[in-house]
Symmetry: C2
């Protein structure tokens, strides 16, 4: 119950362990096509160029930036957590000029601040994080297309911890490029990064003056393998794609609507229990991300000792804070298959147990959590 990898459904583990076949086997090509179609449904897009990259979420981030930015291009990047900062770092390594808009960790992005930073300037790309895995803040994407239009920019988002857990609607919000990971709300093991690019993003890619600096992540080449040409680029991670196929099938079988409601309900129960224990939630209610809850570590509590005791005594992992929240907050995940009532109760009762055993008085979380589960 950390910030990912989340628990994987046994059906997905079973699919993962099917015999490995060739990456050009006709049976595998069918699986690839089905994965692409199911990913489009999850991303809320018709984008032809939608597929999993052969690396973890950070490889997806780098894929978008190396393909969409050229040396000297101008990128406006919003940072209110670790992953916005990572995007800026990667964009600079692409030779882009980065203008960084920062908000404090745990605070939402303010569209008016980003609009002001963009005002009267030209940018090639605006990039922001839809669901900040480092803080549990969800950003409403509604205002950003028009801001991007005013400065001529493509709009790119990180949806690593939102895809499959809260609505992601690329086409509705005019998002040009998005990347995610498999190990969060899709409950597939880590190792793949789904990406999706709009026709406008593809046009930028195909009109570049310079080569993409990464050969491994060069979408122009990779699309020839995932597309009709089936031209060999690298050996696809066959078994991981079996697993993603099954994870996507389970998500769509549940229906995305039901899945989002499940995340909302269990996150509400977890938060109610944490607050009943007297623990504070640093993120304001309107901006909380259901799959990942940030909770303050009370004064005097030893972060590492409590997390270590949770693992050894209860077999339960929760995440430490990142960046400004290091040592100051925990991150508790309720993602995909692991987003269940029993996990809410387990986490609350185990956390209460180790806090009490360490001499910290906390209230009983179960009645409030149980009420929220009604």
């Amino acid at each position: 119950m950390g910030p990912g990898p989340s628990d994987v459904d046994p059906a997905v583990l079973r699919a993962l362990s099917a015999p490995t076949i060739g990456h050009l086997d006709p049976a595998f090509l069918t699986i690839m096509d089905e994965v692409r179609a199911m990913l489009r449904a999850c991303f809320g897009t018709q984008n032809e160029l939608t597929m999993p990259m052969s690396g973890t979420g950070s490889a997806g981030m780098e894929t978008l930036l190396v393909n969409l930015l050229e040396p000297g291009d101008r990128a406006l990047i919003a940072q209110h957590g670790v992953f916005g900062g990572r995007m800026a770092e990667v964009a600079r390594r692409c030779g882009a000029e980065v203008e960084l808009v920062t908000e404090p960790f745990g605070q939402p992005l303010r569209p008016e601040v980003i609009a002001a930073a963009a005002e009267g300037k030209r940018f090639d790309l605006i990039a922001l994080v839809h669901a900040e895995t480092s803080t549990g803040v969800l950003t409403d994407l509604t205002p950003y297309r028009s801001i991007a239009n005013r400065c001529g920019a493509l709009l790119a988002i990180d949806c690593v911890t939102s895809l499959g857990g809260v609505p992601v609607e690329l086409d509705k919000h005019g998002v040009d490029a998005a990347y995610s990971g498999t190990q969060k709300c899709l409950s597939c093991p880590p190792g793949l990064s789904p990406v999706s690019l709009s026709p406008r993003a593809v046009a930028k890619m195909t009109s570049r003056d310079t080569q993409v600096q990464s050969w491994y992540l060069d979408l122009g080449l990779i699309a020839q393998y995932w597309g009709a040409e089936r031209a060999y680029h690298h050996t696809a991670p066959v078994n991981m794609i079996y697993a993603l196929h099954e994870a996507l099938r389970l998500a769509l079988d549940e229906t995305l609507t039901a899945r989002f409601a499940r995340h909302e309900k269990h996150a509400a129960a977890l938060r109610a229990g944490l607050q009943a224990m007297g623990l504070a939630l640093p993120v304001a209610e309107a901006h909380r991300l259901d799959p990942l809850t940030l909770v303050s570590i009370p004064a005097g509590v030893n972060d590492r000792a409590i997390r270590s005791e949770l693992i050894t005594r209860h077999g339960l992992e929760i995440g430490g804070g990142l960046g400004e929240f290091k040592g100051k907050a925990w991150r508790i995940g309720l993602m995909g298959s692991a987003c269940t009532a029993r996990n809410v109760l387990l986490c609350l009762s185990a956390l209460r147990d180790v806090l009490k055993r360490a001499g910290h008085a906390v209230g009983d979380p179960i009645p409030a959590a149980s009420a929220a589960l009604d």
Copy 2:
């Protein structure tokens, strides 16, 4: 029985499907350390910086080149197949000046030609392919350390199709940097790329004037996760590393010596059978790579039709030719767990069957293959 992915042992598939745990879980950190130790044994090295990258073999290639080359650096790269050419392409994308030494596809590298190209010049890196997956040619590494010394270069190799199938001795041959894949002679699914860097290569990395252009493949950052610091970089592909752990355990349990002898014996039987059928082997005997055999497609035989029929009628995949051998040769793999007598017999009898059914007279391969298996 193509050029990889090879068949995966059921024990490895079982390990792959173990429940996913956190990438910072103490139990997982132990697995990581054991993987590193076992990889060192397979690579024949004491190199501290030995670990699997979170991508397929081509990600390993890019890892070495982006970390060891800076813009303006000079690289001498030998090409006698697709993968030498790919190294040159990636090195150029790093901003390096590439001097390319080419030999025909299917021919061995000639050390005197490479020595002549290096003579009287300075290079930062010499890179060559130990086992050319596109042609089935094995290169003796013995001469290259002294050539690299004379021009002040690091020595880097591709051992994607040799690691675990034929001897790879990085320290004995003075190799500074090597990358491989998991899906060939280690018989683990595709998705990881083991790499190893010598202290001399690490010194070059740490004295760079410029940042590594790839954040995802920046070894300076990744080594802080695989090393004592355990600093989060990206979410490791946990299940794939379980699988690699089991695949390495099986390889070392068999002993590398026995494993190499097994590859040698079965490759000899396959070749004897192919020749008994009247098929020609384009690679000269002294340079053949046991795990992958190149065989000429006889005149008048339809490449795609025969390979398609092999899959549909016999469930058997063999590889097509690459580059200059496209449509002119097949590549037959005998790698790791799939390197067995029954696969030799299956491949020979199935290939004979589909050739005869298509109207091509071929000799009986089994007596010669069987004799070679004695």
